[in-house]
């Protein structure tokens, strides 16, 4: 509401934007904030795109976000946005499930959406991704890239979402190269880059040549390790696979691909539906390959068999989209998974 901050943001706040009671939408991030290079950022990008496409302004009455500083802030933030009369409020991340559930019951005339979790309330749209499908594809890529037949997986904190990444990834590896083994290790944290780095170092040292990290900022350590190894020895085969968005910027020589989760697509989609009066309240909307909700990022151009990999990914994508292959989303399903 004051001089400089407005200039900075290049946008206006609500105070002078009272033209009409237009559609407004907001989101609450978890402690990561909108620049976590991961799904908060992706969600915010989607929201911004939606806002710009619809000629909305940033701020109250348009589109905005609130960042949480701890778990107990989710509820307050969701509530604040609902009170500011935003028509639709997104809660980004499974951590917000409880808070969304609760506020949705209280603010029955408002619409909410939750990403990565399910809330069974008529005014809440639940957005779930089939992470396993994207990670299946990167698993295929990993399996076709590895020379040592040793592949690594670094998980952040053991949770349902990361379990989907893990099982999909392992299924993909298994499908494309049954001889390859996957070394799975959880760091126990999403914010400990040193753990990511040490785990990656261990994996590379023990012969692993492709690692997939579904571990937030912990994964940064993996990129660091791979870049270091590459810088030291340009002939080293140290591949990494990013997560959530195309993380090729984390190291142009070492990022093989990324398991992309198009939170932005989902957010835009739900927002658009809500604006048009088709809000999928009370329903779970699943975003998988078929819905363009997840994808494998482009394969690094310096991979020798890039074309083969791309072809394989295309084939598997078709199979998955058609339902011919059902990618396992839990470790239990993985046990019985057989690639046809």
């Amino acid at each position: 509401a004051c001089g400089k901050s407005d200039d900075n943001k290049g946008n206006d706040t609500a105070k002078n934007g009272d033209k009409k009671a237009a559609f407004s939408v907001a989101m609450v991030t978890d402690v990561g904030g909108v620049d976590d290079k991961s799904f908060n950022q992706s969600a915010w990008e989607g929201l911004q795109k939606f806002g710009q496409d619809n000629g909305m302004k940033k701020g109250v009455g348009g589109y905005t976000y609130l960042q949480s500083k701890s778990d107990s802030d989710y509820s307050t933030n969701l509530n604040t946005l609902a009170r500011q009369k935003f028509d639709l409020v997104f809660g980004i991340g499974f951590m917000m499930q409880g808070a969304v559930d609760e506020i949705a019951k209280q603010q029955k005339d408002k619409h909410f959406a939750i990403v990565d979790s399910e809330v069974k309330e008529p005014n809440v749209a639940s957005i779930l991704f089939k992470e396993q499908e994207a990670s299946f594809l990167v698993g295929v890529a990993a399996a076709m890239t590895t020379k040592s037949n040793k592949i690594g997986f670094i998980g952040g904190v053991e949770s349902e979402v990361i379990e989907r990444f893990e099982s999909g990834f392992r299924a993909g590896v298994q499908a494309a190269n049954p001889k390859a083994t996957v070394d799975v290790q959880y760091a126990g944290a999403f914010d400990k880059a040193e753990l990511g780095q040490s785990i990656a170092s261990k994996m590379y040292s023990s012969g692993v040549d492709v690692i997939f990290a579904a571990a937030g900022a912990t994964g940064n350590g993996m990129f660091k390790e791979a870049n270091d190894r590459k810088a030291k020895n340009p002939n080293a085969t140290v591949w990494t696979i990013g997560v959530d968005r195309d993380q090729s910027d984390m190291g142009k020589d070492v990022v093989l691909t990324s398991a992309v989760k198009r939170v932005d697509v989902a957010v835009q989609d739900i927002a658009t539906k809500a604006k048009e009066g088709n809000f999928p309240g009370g329903k779970v909307t699943l975003y998988g390959l078929a819905e363009d909700g997840v994808a494998a990022a482009p394969i690094n151009s310096s991979v020798a068999n890039k074309a083969d990999i791309e072809k394989a990914i295309k084939d598997w994508t078709d199979k998955i989209k058609s339902g011919a292959v059902k990618v396992p989303g839990t470790l239990k399903e993985l046990k019985t998974f057989k690639a046809k």
């Binding site: 880059a193 261990k202 660091k224 190894r229």
Partner: protein, 319 residues
């Protein structure tokens, strides 16, 4: 996995993780040896991490490959400057050292994130392009066995930490400065009657701790995290504090403790690849470093005595 393989994996990652801890713990030692309790180490690391990343991002064009080293020096200066707040509060204003240290932590966290948002308009910085890289130490790397374990795929900063720790030990125990610093932390009134400026020594102790804490943060940021966000420094300062106590306020002790922490951490990582540990729940490996530390403390370390006047104010003529 053979023992050799294990060592080749464990040792470099131990040293990598130990380096920032060692620097910061050494900082704590200088401060506490002078009698000023410093639980603000976390904050000092934060300032160091923040400064180094910002500097690195801004000046990488100017300094090229030397950027991380220059950033290290800048972070050192920033840490020293920031620690002055603690010095003024704890020494001149006679603030409770613990309270002031807590304030340092809170302030650093708030300020750095505030500035990141102010400068970049978002909650975290970009990734730096020139950090500290893996290296093989020339000559030493060729020593049979040892060379491969200790001197290959490692970081200059790790060895810098070891050298600085030894240097700090020398300073503290072998030089007039060290003698005076310790005397001020043990019995400031005695030092005063010997014509030593207690206030000056304590300021120096705190400023050095700021400088070393800044370096610790900068090393962490530039060799591990590669950018700065709210999560970059999350608890490492407290681990450094623990390393300082674990090492009994002795630089070589802190060196050992830092390496021990790094080792415990690495062991927990390697554990999942060892046949006999493979099937135990992950949680045991996750808590292993912490439990090991507690066991080590109860087992062979025994009681650690802080400098006698640690945390006290020196008031001329007081009792």
């Amino acid at each position: 996995m053979s023992l050799m393989e294990i060592l080749i994996i464990v040792v470099p990652s131990t040293l990598l993780w130990a380096a920032p801890l060692i620097f910061t713990a050494l900082g704590g030692i200088f401060s506490e040896r002078s009698g000023v309790v410093n639980i603000g180490l976390e904050g000092l690391m934060l300032i160091g991490a923040f400064t180094s990343i910002v500097f690195n991002l801004t000046f990488v064009g100017t300094f090229g490959n030397a950027t991380p080293w220059v950033a290290l020096i800048v972070a050192m200066a920033a840490g020293a400057l920031f620690s002055l707040i603690h010095a003024v509060a704890a020494i001149t204003f006679r603030a409770d050292h613990t309270v002031s240290g807590v304030a340092i932590n809170l302030l650093a966290a708030g300020l750095c994130m505030f500035l990141v948002k102010q400068m970049y308009g978002k909650g975290e910085t970009a990734i730096i392009s020139k950090g500290f890289n893996k290296i093989d130490i020339p000559v030493l790397k060729d020593i049979p066995i040892i060379g491969k374990i200790f001197f290959q795929d490692t970081y200059w900063t790790s060895f810098l930490a070891i050298i600085v720790a030894i240097f700090a030990w020398y300073i503290i125990f072998k030089t007039p400065f060290g003698l005076r610093l310790r005397s001020v932390g043990e019995h400031p009134m005695a030092a005063d009657t010997m014509g030593i400026n207690v206030t000056k020594m304590r300021y120096l102790g705190v400023i050095i701790s700021g400088a070393l804490g800044g370096i610790g943060g900068a090393i962490y940021a530039q060799s591990i995290a590669n950018n700065f966000s709210h999560a970059t420094i999350s608890g490492q300062g407290f681990m450094a504090l623990a390393a300082m106590i674990f090492g009994k306020w002795n630089p070589l002790g802190a060196l050992g403790a830092g390496i021990f922490f790094g080792f415990a951490q690495s062991i927990s990582i390697i554990g999942s690849s060892l046949p006999f540990l493979k099937d135990i729940p992950n949680v045991y490996l996750l808590i292993a470093p912490y439990v090991l530390t507690i066991l080590a403390l109860t087992g062979f370390i025994g009681r650690a005595e802080a400098p006698k006047a640690d945390g006290t104010h020196y008031i001329k003529g007081g009792r």
